[in-house]
Subunit: 286 residues, 2 copies
DNA sequence: CACAATTACGAGGGTCGTAAAAATG
DNA sequence: CATTTTTACGACCCTCGTAATTGTG
């Protein structure tokens, strides 16, 4: 029987050019390689190398064998990876959300409903967003728009309203509401991973300078310490507040988003509990 | 490192259903199998079986692993076969001829010109005949027609004339020539592997009964012993004759064939000697 | 009690490394 | 003489088989 370790040694010789180099590369002695090669030739019944007294070189047979061996080795390594990935995918629920706020509620709920599953969440938003769900990159997708496709279940999650957050001394602090146009050109503090909101801001306040901070705690400190305006939302306002800030709703339509929770129809049975939670909790959660 | 023998054992369990059956099938003990499976699971880091105290059964991970393993094992076996075949094809010149007579001269000549090559010859004739050459089934093809294609070299070989061979007492024995129409409906002795001539006969004497014999020596005996007519040709007439027979040329055009020797243009250099032999020997050989 | 899988232990095969030999540029 | 491959020999790892154990139908 030809074993994998033989093919690995064969390929190493092909890659390194000489047996000595290959032996070093494999942390093996030359004799070991030499024997393996001879054994391979015996088993296949065909010479794989042209032998000079002082050198060996692959012949046509050998080159073919190396080519085939590479594929077998790759497939063999892929077996481990694929089985692991398959297993993981059956023990993991992947969530992709267009914005951070939905994850704050959704991830804990999923952890509770699926105690022996790992919940993996990711935040991103792009043109081909829906594809993340259909191509299997995630089991649950949170979108800022309603989805009506045959194979996808889509349930309304909640609405988030964007606020401007400023110190009391700020010129805009007295207003009852503001517009994106009031903010364009300002310098603002911004959390880097806003996903969907990131695009909204760029579209409506193209001239605003953002001081982006990816560490949430550091951003918190910055907001407390500086007089620069920042964003908050109907969701963050219900969480423990930091500092002394005035929060003013942004009146534009674009500052209000409705999030939807989507999954594939084939997972409907699995997420029956989640569907119920979405129906029930819609009103009182936020 | 996952080795082939492990995958073989895994697949055997999947095929046989239980470890005991698999062990028997592999001429191995159950403990050996049990250990290999545990080792595989350790290395992959994933459970492959659902374990009852008294039984093991593949789970989803296991089924995937088995599927991948099968392919690896197949590829691994194929490596040996493919390298052997590749090597053989480089040490063999395959000739396919539409009729037997060309091989009688061609094969010895090739053996002489390529002393360390194995000459393999086959006789067949069908619609897609030329394809045998272009698809690599052979390096040399003998056709009953001239070939003029860009990638194929075609050289005239020789002409063969078909004769009717009858005992002196036969009604046709006195004729200077006969036609296929004279033979239609007769019962004749025939060598089974006539290739191209077989089709010619069937076309022009559809009502003739043939007593087909595939052993050449046996046919020889039959011809000597019986009074039935048989075929001979300009080629066989130059070989030692058997029995006391009258040979009468068949006058139809179809009873005369010109053979051509063809090979791929890329082999032209290789067969330079053969080309010269065909040019030189054309006149005197037959 | 028959059957299936696992655990324990000793035997044997095979691969490995070290050392030495042979051959080349 | 350095470099490279091959051969020889002994050590060790690892797989295997036998036998005993556990658990089930």
């Amino acid at each position: 029987m030809i074993e994998i370790y033989m093919l690995v040694q064969l390929v190493a010789i092909a890659d390194c050019g000489t047996m000595s180099k290959a032996a070093e590369h494999l942390h093996l002695s030359q004799p070991a390689l030499s024997r393996t090669v001879n054994k391979l030739e015996d088993m296949i019944g065909v010479k794989l190398f042209e032998r000079g007294k002082n050198k060996v070189e692959l012949n046509d047979n050998g080159r073919l064998a190396v080519e085939l061996a590479r594929k077998i080795i790759d497939d063999n390594n892929a077996l481990t990876e694929r089985v692991r990935a398959f297993d993981l995918s059956h023990r993991t629920i992947s969530v992709i959300s267009c914005a951070p706020a939905p994850l704050w509620q959704l991830v804990p709920t999923l952890s509770e409903q699926f105690p022996d599953m790992k919940i993996s969440s990711e935040m991103k938003y792009h043109e081909d967003f829906l594809n993340e769900l259909t191509n299997g990159s995630c089991q649950i997708l949170v979108t800022p728009f309603e989805v009506s496709e045959d194979n996808i279940i889509c349930k309304r999650f909640f609405e988030e309203q964007l606020y401007l957050s400023v110190p009391p001394a700020h010129p805009l602090a007295g207003y009852d509401e503001v517009h994106f146009s009031d903010l364009d050109g300002e310098t603002m503090l911004l959390f880097s991973d806003l996903g969907f909101w990131h695009e909204v801001n760029h579209k409506h306040t193209p001239n605003t300078k953002y001081i982006v901070q990816s560490e949430y705690d550091a951003l918190d400190e910055l907001i407390k310490a500086s007089a620069l305006p920042s964003f908050s939302s109907s969701v963050t306002l219900k969480m423990p507040q930091h500092g002394n800030r005035v929060n003013i709703p942004i009146a534009d339509d674009a500052a209000k988003a409705t999030f939807y929770c989507c999954w594939r129809k084939e997972d409907n049975k699995r997420f029956k509990g989640l569907a119920k939670w979405l129906d029930d909790a819609r009103g009182d959660t936020f």
